[in-house]
């Protein structure tokens, strides 16, 4: 595994599964044996306000917050939150947004967060099996099939 620190920022609105998506990435990096830190601010955000969560992983991570303008990847769950957060990307960083996915093919719009993780996974070095395993352990069994389909739709969108 690459030991350089990779910075990923997730952003969206309260209730969209921003924190769940960042949890899943953190667990995948953890399963890869890397150092990982994840940071977020909750509280009032559950009333529909803006939410963001930072994940950093690599050989050794110090600050849990992605430094200003140093995000390698920015995953945004709501298009309105793109302009609010795109300044966090480093030059040449990769934006992953809902417009990159054919949302009409999602069985349930609630699995958008996992679909975007699929899209992100196409750019990262973790094998699909690890992602699927963490998706399964993070969500109730009745949601597995729907979310695995969403994940694969995301992967496909990046091809």
């Amino acid at each position: 595994m690459n030991q350089n620190v990779i910075n990923v920022v997730f952003a969206g609105l309260g209730g969209q599964g921003v924190l769940k998506a960042s949890d899943i990435l953190a667990e995948v990096a953890f399963a890869a044996g890397l150092d990982v830190k994840k940071s977020e601010v909750h509280g009032m955000s559950q009333r529909g306000g803006s939410v963001s969560s930072d994940v950093r992983y690599g050989g050794k991570v110090a600050s849990p917050m992605v430094p200003e303008c140093e995000a390698d990847y920015l995953v945004v769950l709501d298009e309105t939150q793109v302009p609010v957060n795109e300044g966090r990307l480093k030059e040449g960083g990769c934006l992953i947004a809902p417009s990159m996915i054919d949302i009409s093919r999602l069985q349930n719009p609630k699995s958008l967060n996992v679909a975007l993780l699929g899209a992100l996974s196409a750019r990262l070095e973790f094998p699909r099996d690890w992602w699927i395993e963490v998706v399964k352990s993070s969500l109730p069994a009745k949601l597995h099939e729907m979310n695995i389909a969403a994940f694969d739709l995301g992967v496909e969108s990046m091809k």
Binding site: D23, E27, D35, S39, V41, H42, Q46, G49, P64
Partner: protein
């Protein structure tokens, strides 16, 4: 052999409490500290919500007086409420370990101020630990109990939002010392703080603190040095350690884990070992002032870095003495009352009536946002009632008559009761109206139970305090219970009638929180099933 886990700071503290045999976890919910007791309960530990932080600490003192390891949790402002017992339990000390945890919120992600609770360590004279990540939160929790029991002194545990809510890798361990068995040992001179006993107790406290300063100097693992160069040295603690490690790769860093009393000998040697030494800390220039008072030549931060959280970028600027204006991050979408929130109708009515709304702490503080714009003051838990009564006493009649208090059910249990006492006792000439917005939960902090919900912290059944019965018993003239969403016209008429009279009235606006509804149903079904067995 334990396996590594990915845990938030809050979870790591709960895990440490379980691993070192904590018998009692007690607190009041408050972001970002809430999850500690919830997770401790999930792990099988005994957790309970107190009506407020003062009672929580008092329960904690009793438990620790009885030789049980005890954790008391609250957010930073909660320690203000608990300050009365805090200052005197410093004198009495305890038999079992007592760790008093308060979570600061620099930058005010969800708080009404960004007070720096490190000041309490100096003010009360209590040792203090400050973890920098989840692993340290785990290790220092166990250490705090050991120190508390060795010196028979409560320990302050100061964490911040970023430590509470950041997840990092944690390795558990088996604690060196086992907890004692609960029992009460009579020690009148030590536990009854009348002046004759308190005077020697204060001297004893200062003696303990002098010993603890030596302990801190001599504990190599409580002050860690990252030697990376001789030109710049950084003295720091808590989350600022992490930002400093990233922001200044050439700087040597002195990482303090126990920040009161300070290991001044260790710090002094470090200052001498580098050309320039700077303190990096969030909040007040607290370390900086103590080190300057000790005669150390250190630099601090420009005043602008006293406000808000630090980050890698801000630490870089701070070290460069950069005081140029910072670019504010683009504003996101502010939080709002949920669609379907039962508070919405109440604020529609208060706005349309042109009320002067004395507000309180909770989701309903969002009544200040458009389209309601129906809140005029909000200071602290319970202040809605006292502040409104002060207004009613001095305002001219026409204005006084427009004043309304708005308080939630959990906040009412926390510190609304004494406000009602004042309303009955010092009755304003125009009377008063208190609206208790009862949504059956502590919504803002994430749907916790309280004494009025009929369920305990773990959502199993508990005796229920009935709000309307309590205020009626206190001598309020009119007490009504109504659902404003279901009966808007009746509610509007009732508010108008009460405001027109010179009576003192309480209206309980009752309808469950829309987010809590499904969960409450689940708990009730589960509790009914358990009851049937």
């Amino acid at each position: 052999m334990y396996e590594k886990q990915l845990l938030s700071g809050d979870e790591a503290i709960a895990q440490a409490c379980l691993d070192c045999g904590v018998k009692m976890g007690v607190g009041y919910p408050g972001t970002p500290s809430t999850e500690i007791l919830e997770y401790f309960s999930t792990l099988g530990g005994h957790s309970q919500w107190a009506p407020n932080e003062k009672v929580a600490l008092e329960v904690g003192i009793g438990s620790a007086f009885s030789n049980a390891r005890t954790l008391v949790t609250m957010k930073h402002v909660g320690l203000n409420v608990a300050a009365d017992p805090l200052f005197t339990v410093a004198y009495t000390g305890t038999d079992g370990g007592l760790v008093i945890l308060s979570a600061d919120d620099p930058g005010m992600a969800s708080s009404q101020n960004e007070q720096d609770n490190r000041n309490y360590a100096v003010a009360a004279g209590l040792p203090m630990f400050e973890p920098a990540d989840s692993q340290e939160a785990y290790d220092l929790t166990i250490r705090a109990f050991e120190v508390s029991e060795q010196w028979k002194i409560p320990v302050l545990f100061r964490i911040t939002t970023r430590v509470c809510h950041s997840k990092c890798i944690v390795m558990r361990r088996t604690p060196a010392s086992a907890p004692g068995k609960p029992h009460f040992e009579r020690n009148v001179k030590g536990k009854v703080m009348v002046p004759a006993f308190a005077r020697p107790a204060h001297r004893e406290l200062r003696r303990k603190l002098a010993e603890l300063a030596q302990y801190n100097n001599q504990s190599a693992d409580l002050t860690v040095e990252y030697r990376r160069g001789d030109r710049l040295g950084i003295i720091t603690s808590g989350i600022s350690v992490q930002h400093s490690l990233d922001a200044a790769p050439e700087a040597s860093i002195l990482h303090l884990k126990m920040t009161y009393p300070l290991p001044l000998e260790r710090i002094s040697k470090f200052v001498d070992s580098v050309e320039r030494c700077v303190v990096v800390e969030e909040g007040d220039p607290w370390l900086e002032k103590q080190l300057r008072a000790a005669g150390l030549h250190i630099g601090g931060k420009p005043e602008m870095y006293r406000f808000g959280e630090l980050s890698v970028g801000r630490v870089r600027r701070l070290l460069n003495g950069d005081v140029s204006p910072e670019t504010a991050p683009p504003a996101g979408k502010p939080p709002q009352l949920c669609p379907g929130c039962p508070h919405r109708k109440v604020f529609d009515v208060l706005r349309d009536m042109g009320s002067i709304v004395s507000g309180d702490i909770g989701c309903y503080t969002l009544g200040v946002m458009p389209p309601f714009s129906a809140m005029d003051t909000c200071v602290c838990m319970g202040a809605s009632i006292g502040v409104a009564l002060g207004m009613r006493q001095v305002l001219p009649e026409e204005e006084a008559r427009r004043v309304v208090s708005v308080i939630g059910d959990s906040t009412f249990m926390h510190s609304g009761l004494t406000g009602i006492v004042d309303m009955v006792y010092n009755r304003p000439p125009t009377g008063h109206l208190v609206l208790i917005l009862d949504n059956h939960t502590t919504a803002m902090t994430g749907l916790q139970e309280h004494a009025g919900t009929g369920r305990k912290l773990d959502h199993t059944p508990a005796p229920q305090i009935i709000i309307e019965d309590v205020v009626r018993a206190m001598g309020v003239d009119h007490v009504d219970v109504i659902d404003p969403t279901a009966k808007p016209a009746e509610f509007t008429g009732l508010v108008a009638r009460r405001l027109a009279s010179n009576d003192i009235s309480v209206i309980v606006a009752r309808r469950p929180c829309i987010l809590a509804l499904v969960k409450i149903r689940q708990y009730e079904n589960l509790n009914a099933e358990q009851g049937a067995k």
